[in-house]
Amino acid sequence: MTMLVDLVDIFRSKNAGPFQITFDLFFPDYASYDRVLASNVLTPERVAPLYGLDQVKVRMIPFRRIRAIKITIDRPGASSGSPGDRDVYGAQQHGPLLCLEVP
């Protein structure tokens, strides 16, 4: 069993403004990059339920030149720093993606 976290060099999570969070995954080689893309584990259909979101709130954009995949989601909970928020910078919201199994 291979988990997504084992296939990436960098897995960063960050605000893209106070109402969205963006995840950048960087892969060490094209084999891992293509494997993850082909597996479809990062499609909006698969990612949206992990964050309790509608599919339309999730965008996945591959950036082949640098073996990167960007996923941008609407914030699933409160906006950055408002009452009830858990992560003002959005820097630790990648947890639900880390252990996705990649065939």
């Binding site: 969205q20 950048d24 954009i61 950036f63 950055s80 720093g81 408002s82 992560d87 947890g95």
Partner: protein, 453 residues
């Protein structure tokens, strides 16, 4: 002019940079020195309250050497998004620091302050005229939300900076700005390609964050030419690669292939990144796509109440096993004790369990305590600070003494690291406005005020 050299001091004025990096940059004879000083990243508190994330001491430490060098070279020094949120109190604090340094160093120059607070009445009229639209993930703006908004700023584009430069400003301190506008105003004045200029600005505005090893707290040099630009970190111990620069182009951006600006966007789909020497990357192919509409991003913060918090730990296995019961029971006890004291619905109580699901909450895929101890963050938010204090005090004592099945540690469930245990957080805000304003006045919204130091 074939080439424009721009020194970006640091990702946020106050985060620091190496003096050696500044001096390396000065040796390259830059045409301007710039620094961003703001962001929404640290949350709505700064915009709402007028406070700054980078404290005056930090800003002074970073501004002073740069100001001295800029005046010695006779090139403009430009600071954008002054004082974190770029509202009027934020701008005034940074202007005060500028004048203090100038006085102490006997520096004399022509300066410009650019204001970025947007009057509520202007937003209200625009809202009525259908010229305010939400950004992705943001609700429509209502006039009720506008009423309770404390302060609104607009992110200025290059136009006010250009007006300040044309007016002879040698130092510009601007309120809330597009990070890129700080570095694109001068290139635009000299007719450089806007796609390249904005792309270079986007990479430079975070300091050496695009370098290896990365550092938002260090300086970088951008060299803009007619058909490409060069990026080079100014600390000899750092480098850049095509990958590190391309990767930074997508940092904190929803889409890796476009940079949205008030008057259009930069299309990065054809951008090329090449290594020209071991520490320099050349970028070309970024394309400016103008938009028929000019839109200014508005940011506003509204007061939600006042918070008081307490932190504590638990390392008793029975407590860890019964946390859901304790949370539920303690809330019930606190609510009961607050009956007749605070209006139900006028306050909220939160318990966050670090070591279990504090970071992800209901999204946590493994919602079990992982170790032999957990940290609890107790939080009360109410309409006044005194009310938050009372609510938190009752929540704290309720968790401390909460009964649960199999309890053996009957003297207390919590280990408090501090006395006093309760910490007043102060006012709590939310981003109530994060919308685009259609406008035909990119300049008039941001008054430029000239003065002599």
């Amino acid at each position: 002019m074939d080439e424009l050299r721009i020194l970006s001091l640091t990702g946020n004025l106050g985060y620091g940079y190496r003096l050696k990096s500044l001096h390396n940059g000065i040796a390259a004879q830059p045409h301007m020195i710039g620094s961003d000083n703001g962001s929404t990243d640290a949350g709505p508190y700064y915009l709402g309250s007028g406070d700054q994330l980078t404290k005056p001491f930090q800003v002074k430490r970073d501004l002073k050497p740069a100001l001295i060098e800029a005046r010695r070279l006779g090139v403009p020094l430009i600071v954008g998004s002054a004082g974190t949120a770029g509202g009027e109190p934020h701008l005034q604090v940074v202007l005060g620091i500028l004048c203090e340094i100038a006085r102490a160093e006997s520096l004399h120059f022509r300066a410009a302050a650019i204001h970025a607070e947007i009057p509520k009445s202007l937003v209200r009229d625009a809202l009525a005229g259908g010229r305010v639209s939400p950004l992705p993930g943001v609700p429509e703006l209502s006039s009720e939300t506008l009423d309770r908004t404390e302060r609104i700023v607009g992110q200025m584009g290059t136009e006010p900076f250009e007006a300040a430069l044309e007016g002879g400003a040698e130092v510009i301190i601007a309120g809330r700005s597009c990070d890129t506008a700080i570095y694109t105003a001068m290139p635009n004045q000299h007719g450089f390609d806007l796609g390249l200029a904005f792309h270079m600005a986007k990479i430079m505005e975070c300091g050496a964050q695009c370098a290896l090893p990365l550092a938002a707290n260090d300086s970088i040099l951008g060299t803009l030419r007619r058909d490409h630009f060069l990026v080079q970190p100014l600390d000899a111990g750092r480098t850049v690669t095509p990958e590190s620069v391309a990767a930074h182009s997508m940092y904190e951006q929803g889409n890796p292939f476009e940079i949205v600006e008030p008057g259009g966007k930069v299309d990065l789909t054809a951008a090329e990144y090449d290594q020209v020497d071991p520490r320099t990357v050349r970028v070309s192919g970024s394309r400016w796509v103008p938009n028929s509409k000019y839109t200014v991003k508005l940011e506003g913060a509204a007061l939600c109440g006042y918070a008081t918090v307490a932190m504590a730990g638990s390392r008793d296995p029975a407590i860890l096993a019964n946390l859901p019961i304790i949370e539920q029971e303690a809330r019930r006890m606190a609510d009961g004790n607050l009956e007749g004291v605070l209006e139900p619905g006028s306050y909220s109580l939160n318990i966050r369990v670090y070591g279990r699901d504090a970071v992800l909450g209901p999204l946590e895929p493994k919602p079990q305590p992982l170790g032999h101890e957990v940290g609890l963050l107790l939080e009360a938010i109410a309409a006044t600070q005194d009310e938050a204090d009372v609510a938190l005090a009752l929540l704290r004592s309720s968790v401390l003494h909460c009964p649960f099945p199999g309890r053996k540690t009957t003297a207390g469930n919590l280990a408090f690291p501090f006395s006093p245990s309760d910490i007043r957080v102060g006012p709590v805000y939310e981003f109530s406005v994060y919308h685009l304003l259609d406008t035909e006045q990119p300049l008039e919204l941001f008054p430029v005020e000239f003065f002599t130091v």
